[in-house]
């Protein structure tokens, strides 16, 4: 081992590493974060492995035991096709947990890019971009999402992948404005700092400054926005599939199941109650997670 390597080993960790360790420690001490993360991780696990955990598969029909109440065999009862409600409730996490996180990533990407450009360049560019962003805000999210998904439905007919892609993109684009605003504000306050001036003086090009210099320093608001948007994305994706604009049967998706089974709510309340509670728990969990992250990162 050379002297330099030894020296490097003995040197204290950089500021960033220290801060990261501190943040992680604080997160692990925050009950809000822990509960939220716990719930979300539970559902991620279920989205991936539920079929290995439950006795029945989410698509296994049993025509002789339809709409049966809770029993030792079927802990959550059966639906109108005799399918096990517990299996379907646990498996229902999958569709939401594919769409919502991807949508959140997209809106972070779009919103982050717009926020960076708008915040860095100021002036005219900033004005125009933010005006366009405001137009996106002129329609309630659900309404705009319905119109767009319905518009593309004739092209995505028969292809669940394409349908999912449309939903992801729509939610991602519609949530861009709040993300863009937040990032823009963060960029505006970073722009005047020394290291940015230094980079400018060095002759670095604007894109480089935005991505390599500013971006690493605004990770905190980005992460906070991401987790907040995740909660909204879950809400919106589930609402869209409830209204019939998301995934199609026979998927055990929660919104879809509630939409289809509300006709039997009087005789088989379990078919809708359990997916509803599952969805509620995921949404609350995602929001708790976001809350915890926000509290810690804004210290």
């Amino acid at each position: 081992m050379t002297f330099d390597e030894l020296a490097a080993q003995a040197a204290p960790p950089s500021e960033r590493v220290l801060r990261r360790r501190y943040v992680v420690r604080r997160l692990l001490r925050s009950p809000t974060f822990l509960v939220g993360a716990g719930i979300v991780l539970f559902w991620i696990f279920m989205a991936l492995f539920s079929t290995h955990v439950t006795r029945f598969g989410p698509l296994d029909i049993d025509p002789y035991h339809t709409l049966k109440a809770l029993s030792r065999l079927h802990w959550f009862g059966t639906d109108e096709n005799g399918r096990d409600v517990l299996a379907r409730t646990l498996a229902g996490a999958r569709s939401v947990l594919v769409v919502a996180p991807l949508a959140a990533v997209f809106c972070l990407f779009f919103g982050g890019t717009i926020g960076l450009i708008s915040g860095y360049y100021k002036g005219y560019t900033d004005e125009i971009i933010m005006r366009f962003v405001d137009v996106l805000l002129s329609l309630p999210v659900i309404v705009a999402a319905i119109v767009v998904v319905s518009a593309f439905s004739s092209h995505t007919q028969g292809s669940p992948g394409a349908q999912a892609a449309v939903v992801i993109l729509v939610i991602g684009i519609l949530f861009t404005p709040p993300v863009a605003r937040t990032i823009r504000a963060a960029v505006v306050s970073e722009r005047e700092k020394e290291y940015v001036q230094a980079a400018r003086l060095r002759g670095e090009r604007a894109p480089f400054i935005m991505v390599a210099e500013i971006l690493p320093n605004i990770l905190a608001p980005i992460i906070v926005e991401g987790t907040v948007r995740l909660g909204y994305a879950v809400f919106t994706a589930a609402t869209l599939s409830f209204l019939g604009f998301g995934v199609q049967a026979p998927s055990p998706d929660w919104g879809l199941t509630i939409s289809l089974d509300r006709t039997v709510i009087q005789v088989a309340w379990w078919t809708v109650l359990f997916p509803a509670l599952a969805l509620a728990s995921l949404v609350v969990g995602a929001n708790l997670l976001a809350d915890g992250v926000r509290k810690v990162l804004s210290e």
């Binding site: 002789y64 339809t66 005799g82 007919q157 028969g158 026979p250 088989a268």
Partner: protein
Amino acid sequence: MTEDTPFQQEYADHLRHEVLNGHMTRRQLLVRASVIGLSTTAVARLLAACGSKSAGTTAPGTTQPKMGGTLRATMVSPTVAIEPTTMYDTGSIAIAQQVAEYLAWVNNDLTLRPVLAEKWSPDAAAQVWTFNLRKGVAFQDGKPFGADDVVATMNILLDPKTVSAAIASFQGILSPGGVVKVDDATVAFHLDQPNADFPYLVASTNYDCLILPSTYKLGTWQKNPVGTGPFMMTAYTPKQSATFKKNPKYWQSGMPYLDGIQVTFNEQTQAQGLALQAGSVDMMLYTPVQGSQALFTDPNVKVMTAPSTMHRELHMRVDTAPFTDKRVRQALAYSIDRPALIQALFNGKAEIADDNVFFKQYPLAPQDLPDRAQDITKAKALLTAAGMPNGVSATLFVEEYEEIAQYATLLQAMAKPAGINLKLNQVTLTYWYGSGKNQPWLQAPMGITDWTFRGVPDQYFAAFVTNGIWNSSKFSDPAFDAAVKGYLTTVDETKRREYAKTGATILMDATPAIIPYTISVNRAMRQNVQGVTSDPAEFLDLTTAYLA
């Protein structure tokens, strides 16, 4: 009432032999007797000769009907403007049938009840049918009813330009010009070939055959509803409501008992059921099991049931891959667990059917063909024999109607282990039936279509004969065409039974369509509604209805 013709008397004798030889039950006897138009005295004599003690089926003694009141009903809305000569959807039919009437009505037990025709009889070859019309009947606008009106209505229905659903039933049997006025109260139908079931084709089961005045102009019915029926339509708002008032000059004296009917349209079964439970309506036209489960246990509601040959036909185009080989079609048929479907979809209120239209309810249908039970191994073997050991894939069009979406979901799950991968494509009724020359249900490679009850299987043949108007599977087999022709043109019951068996066997073997069940039709109403039963075709006859 005129005496029976010599042919009718000879036929009565034939029927008596059939019963005494054990080939026909008493119930089947009554049906055939009513079709041939035997007088009631002849029927009574027949029953006595067959060893029956009772005088026949009479309606159970009901309480004294109460006059007055308005019945509030809910049903699905007519899908297009109401035109009796071309209508085919439940809503339009229910509305039109309150105002106009047929020559005869098909009862729940398949016998024929004379309405605008008092009596009918065939000639010796059963090729000329003479109908004696009821006298003293008038349309609601005052115009007297007579032979001219029957001839005019029939000519509209037979005109290819009208595009009536009735044409499919008349194809090859009755042509324009075949309906002849004999005198003001008699009409003769000169058929293209003998037909022993003809009266059904001008009765309610051929639902476009409502008799309209000779002056009627196509397309004007919704604005100016005409007919001889018990109710007059006084208001109609599309997709919303329809209002009817009692016809004070109705030819059945003393009826209808009700003062009027108020219809509210609602597309959703659950909403209809909720309204019924809450008491804001008195009756639901049709109560599918799915979505109405709560009604069956509600003490304020009673559900009347009528066995029916209503069914769903899943056709597979025999000229399109992968269904060109009949073994592939058979494989799908063998992958289905029919009793399971019936249990899941109808809580058991349905009968198993075997992929052919000679349903067991019909008097002449074969009763002893084996049911097709689920056999996944056999299904897989059939696919391998057809050269597709790794299975097949296909897109199934599913019309959004009652339990059909759920049927498709169950079918998809049942077909998978056999190697048949179905992708479901759900479409609306309006899209599926289309209009004019564009009718997806006749063109899609694979789809599920709903078929209503018919008094005789004759009206289903158009789906399977070569170039049949309703042939969505494009099935064509000269042997089947011959069996059908023989069935329709022969009068001898035994021979007809043989032809039916041949036809059923051919269809089961070729399997151009999957027909796993026939549904019993439910009708939910509040306890105080009397004098109405359920109807195998969802038809609504409120002539004897009253509110207790």
